[in-house]
Amino acid sequence: MQILVCVKQIPDPASPSSLDPDTSRLVRPPEQVLDDTDRYGIEVGLQLAEQTEGAVTLLSMGPTGTMQGIRQALAMGVGKAVLIDDPALEDSDALTTAKVLAAAARREGFDVLVTGVESTDGYSGVVPQMTAELLGVPALTFARRVEMDGPALRIERQTASGFDVVLSPLPAVLSVTAGAVEPRYPTFRGIMAARSKPVDTLTAADLSVSCDPGQTVVSVAPAPERQAGEVVEDSGTGHLRIVEFLEAARVV
């Protein structure tokens, strides 16, 4: 079975982020990291490959930079990566991203295309569905558990009140939630091997995708700040202070 896993390199969430004042784009340093939530998709991809004697390929769009994030993903045990890095795609919105991923998926061929639910930096949360629509396949979204069931995929799909068990034929797009699986840690061997794994780089033209986001940022302004209130050290009576507060708020 051919499994594609979409991942994204993002600015380290532990460092302060900013928007470029001229373009309103997120400033992306060369040393981006793997979006932590992508580790779940990689793990699901690797498990499906192990169950079906399949192969996993990473798909990633964005500035390659130092490749730190891609190496993190390869170190988990993925065989190879296809990167789409093109300055012409700098203004991409979710739909342009989906067009790129769908075109790359068609080029590689796939039975399952795995994604996260949303990236940590942009969090539009619609790229998996768009990609599925472009590819004409089911979108098995918000999966919290995934397994093969004969030739079909069986997932638990999150709902507002719990979850549905969904059975789907392949090929399909699958978006997995953080917490769906326990991602494996890269081994020392994996980290060493990641350095020499095949990495293909494509441009927008290779995939015949052009970038026209159809939207423009008109303003960026600080949100009204919430004022911090009273902070007290608990010396055994903190709970009484909370009860007083709840009384004042008329909720007890």
């Binding site: 539009s124 979108a139 507002a160 940022v217």
Partner: protein, 316 residues
């Protein structure tokens, strides 16, 4: 310019997030609801009361209706040329919005907290944990597609009625529409709900263990509060996802939000910072949660919560 609102049926008719968006659309003028699921007279009355003058009722379809609903919606949009189609950011609506954008080749803007519709359409979103507001305008032809975060607007009854209903059977979506739901599990049916409770008490990593979540429940019970959680403890498997508050979970705006052992990561703050009042209990005086709290208790949740539960119970 007519504004359309996509609304999915829930067990109780139109869902609250869709009604919030419909109320907003109606405040701009003519509002049309596209209702997915068999619309009862009661459901139509609710849609009308919240401002829908016309309802397109998408009926039939398979277990996961997003692909078929997209096909139907694309046909209707082509026929009627609405100026904008708004969606509440719920699971199925998110699937339909994404698919529709790809199908009709129009951008969609997600995570909207405000929408201004006149000749064009400008959408406000929050970035960096809600510290910055970004306004984005669509530059191409409509319909403009927007996904709105729940609780961005209030659902208001305007006293109207639906004057026209068109039933629109869902087409066969082929392979894309072939998944089947073979079982359904409800994890959080009883008790106060995050969406409507006056008081919410949430736990984070500072609880230390899955078992310690019972401390949250012991305070929630005498308060009649709903119980929530951070992504960290949902990912860790301590509590079900249905309890998650934050960017990837629910957005809540209760009268009082009590955050226990919650550090205040951006991901969490986005979902609860608009609560009317916030109480935080955390042993780390530097925790970012204190910067948004009206009352901060620097202390150990394992000491404060049992005493709080005891005091609240003794009042009843």
């Amino acid at each position: 310019m007519a504004v359309w609102v996509f609304a999915e049926a829930t067990e109780r008719g139109p869902g609250e997030p869709a009604l919030e968006v419909l109320s907003k659309a109606a405040s701009h003028g003519e509002a049309v609801a596209v209702y997915l699921g068999q619309a009862s007279g009661e459901a139509l009355a609710v849609l009308g009361a919240h401002g829908a003058s016309t309802v397109y009722n998408l009926t039939g379809g398979g277990d996961l209706p997003a692909a078929a609903a997209t096909a139907a919606l694309a046909e209707l949009v082509e026929r009627e040329s609405p100026g904008a189609v708004l969606f509440a950011q719920t699971y199925t609506s998110r699937d339909v919005a994404g698919r529709l954008a790809a199908r009709i080749d129009r951008p969609v803007i997600s995570n909207a907290v405000d929408v201004a519709i006149d000749d064009g359409c400008t959408v406000t979103t929050e970035v960096f944990g809600g510290t910055q507001l970004v306004r984005t305008a669509f530059t191409g032809p409509g319909p403009h597609l927007v996904l709105v975060r729940p609780k961005s607007f209030s659902a208001e009854e305007r006293g109207g009625t639906v004057s026209r209903v068109e039933e629109y059977p869902l087409p066969d979506a082929g392979h894309a529409g072939s998944p089947q739901v073979v079982d359904t599990t409800v994890e959080q049916a009883e008790g106060p709900q995050l969406g409507s409770a006056k008081v919410i008490i949430s736990g984070g990593r500072g609880l230390g263990s899955a078992e310690a979540y019972s401390l949250i429940e012991s305070v929630a019970e005498p308060l009649g509060a709903a119980t929530g959680a951070t992504r960290a403890i949902v990912d860790a498997g301590w509590v079900p996802y249905a309890k998650q508050v934050g960017q990837t979970g629910k957005t809540v705006k209760p009268e009082v939000y009590i955050a226990c052992g919650v550090s205040g990561a951006m991901q969490h703050l986005v979902g609860m910072k608009d609560s009317k009042r916030i109480v935080a209990i955390n042993k780390d005086p530097e925790a970012p949660i204190f910067s948004v709290a009206d009352l901060g208790i620097v202390g150990d949740v394992h000491h404060v919560l049992p005493r709080l539960a005891e005091t609240l119970r003794s009042r009843d």
